[in-house]
Amino acid sequence: MSDLNDPLTPVEIVLGRKRKIVVVIAVLVLAAIVYWLVFVNQYVVAFRNQEDHFLYGSIGSEASTGPPYWVFKALPVMYADKLGPAGWGHFGMLYEKPGDDLPIGVSRRIVSGVDRVWLNCSVCHVGTYTLPNQTERHLVYGAPSNNLRLQEFILFFIDLGSDPGFTADRLIAAINSPEVGGHLNAFERVVYRYVIFPRLQAAFADLGKRLTFVARQEKWGPGRVDTFNPYKSLQFNFPMGAASISDAALNGSSDYPSIWQQRPREGMNLHWDGNNNSVAERNLSAALGAGVTPVTVDRSSIRRIEQWMWDLPAPQFPGKVDVEAAERGREVFSDTCAGCHGMKTGGTYSYNTDHFKRLGQTVALADIGTDRGRWASYTPDFAAAQNQLYAGYPWRFKRFHKTNGYANHPLDGIWARSPYLHNGSVPTLHDLLEPSSQRPARWYRGSEVLDLARVGYRSDDAAPGDQLFLYDTSKTGNSNRGHEGKAYGTELSGADKDALVEYMKTL
């Protein structure tokens, strides 16, 4: 310090000025580092185990779409009247074991200092089953989800956007409630009240605006998703009003696919309609469905999952197999089915498209005859838009295209992929071998108890299950027609059909 009688020397003044500059620069650098660490860099929970990574690892959906962790924890408490004691399980989300912090398929990522959660691949690709007369739930990683009620999940969030009861006070109270235990401090409460809550409300309102059409759709039911209509709206702002889209195209709901054994599928026409023949591109696109955006995508995380599912084996049928019948069934399958689906011989599934010429190829809609909704929902305009995604990157989408029908897929682990046909309109393999007129017209989805004889989940109204969903094949998009006639085995003898089903248990 200096005063009138002890001023600083010129050298001290210059050094003082330099010191100030150095301090300012140091503060700026420090601020930049802190800014980078807090607001730019993101933090995820890393999992050593591949399966854990698949179940809980982040693929980058949180930063664009995900709510804060505490909000996700608080909502089931705030809306216990809607969700009940199952919480997120109400929408078919799975917990590995009771008391788990987050359901399967929900990952965490700290974005801008806020712990956020959202979905990953496993939310749609873990199936469950229960054996008859047993209560133990078995999880099948990589199997299509048979429980997830994604449409209801979306509508729940849309409703929040216009719910007068969804207030900052209630949200903060729920977070700080003993059930949630958020213990927000005064500063965090201010942030939640003035930053996070308004953003949430705006995001839910926006979601509602973009997905208004979902209310016009037939009910998806558990284990079904309309992949492309929300995609059109959320990624590309496609007009989805009644004037812009036909009823058929509006109802493109279909079953989730299995994701095991992807290596042999490379080069086949993937997706139900075969609109893309690259596993990696299909995966990146599917990640968008989980809430990832081209900006937030965590490619290395997705690549890790890709590597895992590249050779993930299909699950073994958990019931008894009549070996003799299955052997007879193998011959029938070989004659009738293998040309389109490949087959298993000597314990190994053959995906050889040189041998099975129609495997991985699309069959014209008129020939296959199945419901046109899913096919119609995927349009050339939309394919063109998709091919703009990731423009400027080597992984830019370039293979999406409109096809003329539905694709032939390998049937590995087919027992774990019921109900059948792309739209999940046929409950069991046995039903599928009947002409559509004899297939169940109205039946129930939502039970996870396996019918080990007919191969598929039980679909009767007495089947165990909390929320059985009446599947009405007369609704738009729900038709159970097609994949029938001599070429499709529906005219085989009863014994042959039985043998065929027995064989398909072994796939």
Binding site: T9, P10, V11, E12, V14, L15
Partner: protein
């Protein structure tokens, strides 16, 4: 030791060295000059002390033909370190008269070096604490970060007059002439150098503009002392202003220096001689040419920390186990391989130019001279008329006597160009601090001899009365 491949004998060289040198108005008995070298021997306020009388007498007794004084500030604002005798007032004349008397008693001439630090004021003392160094520029010195203030025309007039009055006082003190310190980065260099002078007025621009300041000094001095009082100019042959940071301006070239020297002849009314050095800072790898003792840098540079804005940075480099040696390596690289006679080529260029115009103008050269063969050849070849020396004379006060009989000091007694004297001068009495030059079987013995030698400058003391001085402590001498 004579070098075997040289065709001249020691007698040939000795003859060159020990012939008279006649300037226009001064005759020196030989060609050996004690170059300007200082030492903090005096009163803080610039009055000379008895140690300096002893100091200068050492060299006169040792046989040099002429002594160029220490850096003698013409004003307190122009000092480089405290405790250097000044010539800023008539009240300093008696001291300098006493110096002259002491030196003349040994048939040695004495020139006063009129000096002004400009911005290159290492430790300005209490008087200058709140002042920036006067200079041609506002830019601080790039080595130590010594702050500068561009001189106004009024400042220039004042300083020119200070030089003129300094010369008058030197003459009144009975000294044999004056030298303008126009080399090594001090104020006159700061005007002359294209690497430093960034003025846009008549004192800057081309070489003539930059030389206007010193030409005005020369004329003002002549006005005060007339044509018959010896006046010489010390000047850089080449500035090498970019030695530390190769990307900054190089400063004056030899060609520009030659032109400036020609200008300073001022049609026969200007300077009588030139004294050639190099390097636009002090110190500079080329001046004093030699080594840079890291330990001494770390011990004695600390006083600079409060003086320059870059001193802390420098000190951190000197103190760093990696950067310190790297700096010394850079220092040696920028100096080059030659130490003794480092400036001879520059001197030769000036000599050739000025002789062509006026053969009565002589040229001296400084830079590491210590051996008769080198000095003899320098004179014989016409590179210069005489040489000036400082460190070799500090090491061996009687070097002229040695050079009469042999080519140089005995092995082990030569100046090693270690530059420990340079660093010690910041905080200790000037002297030779190279312990290994001193005889003795142990370090303690050699060190004690060194201390005795350095402290001998204080003998006899200022107040030597009837009480017998304590005899020097007995030390073990080498058998």
């Amino acid at each position: 030791m004579m070098h075997d491949d040289q065709q001249y004998t020691h007698e040939d060289n000795s003859r060159q060295i020990f012939q008279e040198l006649k300037f226009r108005s001064l005759t020196v008995k030989n060609r050996l000059f004690r170059s300007n070298v200082s030492g903090q021997f005096d009163d803080y306020n610039g009055h000379g002390g008895s140690a300096r009388l002893n100091w200068e007498e050492k060299f006169a007794r040792g046989g040099v033909g002429c002594i160029i004084s220490s850096f003698t500030p013409v004003s307190v604002r122009g000092r480089i370190l405290v405790r250097y005798a000044m010539i800023d007032d008539d009240d300093k004349i008696p001291f300098w008269r006493a110096i002259g008397d002491r030196v003349h008693a040994h048939d040695c001439r004495f020139l006063m070096q009129l000096s002004h630090s400009g911005r290159q004021q290492d430790m300005g003392g209490a008087e200058n604490l709140y002042k920036r160094g006067l200079s041609s520029t506002n830019k601080s010195d790039y080595f130590h970060g010594l702050l500068a203030e561009a001189m106004s025309r009024e400042d220039i007039r004042t300083v020119v007059e200070q030089f003129a009055q300094g010369a008058r006082r030197a003459k009144e003190a009975g000294l044999d002439g004056v030298e303008l310190h126009g080399a090594n980065g001090y104020l006159i260099t700061q005007f002359l150098s294209s690497g430093i002078n960034d003025r846009t007025d008549e004192y800057g621009g081309d070489w003539e503009g930059r030389a206007r300041f010193v030409l005005e000094i020369v004329r003002a001095i002549r006005r005060e002392v007339g044509q018959d009082f010896h006046l010489q100019m010390k000047i850089n042959g080449v500035d090498h202003n970019d030695w530390l940071y190769p990307w900054i301006k190089k400063g004056n070239t030899l060609d520009e220096t030659v032109k400036i020297c020609t200008l300073l002849l001022d049609g026969g009314k200007g300077v009588d001689a030139f004294h050639i050095s190099s390097g636009s800072t002090f110190p500079h790898p080329r001046n004093p040419p030699g080594d840079l003792p890291l330990n001494d840098l770390r011990r004695w540079y600390d006083g600079m920390l409060s003086q320059g804005t870059r001193a802390r940075f420098n000190y951190s480099i000197f103190s760093n186990p990696v950067l310190g040696p790297a700096f010394v390596a850079w220092w040696r690289f920028r100096r080059g391989k030659v130490i003794e006679g480092i400036n001879l080529d520059y001197a030769r260029a000036v000599t050739e130019a000025v002789r062509g115009i006026d053969p009565s103008v002589k040229v001296l050269c400084t830079g590491g001279f210590q051996h008769a063969d080198v000095i003899g050849e320098a004179i014989r070849s016409g590179a210069c008329d005489g040489v000036s020396m400082a460190r070799p004379l500090i090491a061996n006060n009687d070097l002229p006597k040695i050079l009469k009989t042999q080519n140089g000091p005995d092995k082990g007694r030569e100046c090693t160009y270690c530059n420990k004297c340079l660093l010690n001068d910041l905080e200790n009495p000037l002297g030779c601090y190279e312990v290994k030059r001193y005889p003795g079987s142990t370090f303690e013995a050699r060190h004690q001899l060194m201390i005795d030698e350095v402290m001998s400058v204080f003998t006899p003391p200022a107040f030597a009365g009837s009480v017998a001085a304590t005899p020097p402590q007995a030390v073990e001498a080498e058998p």
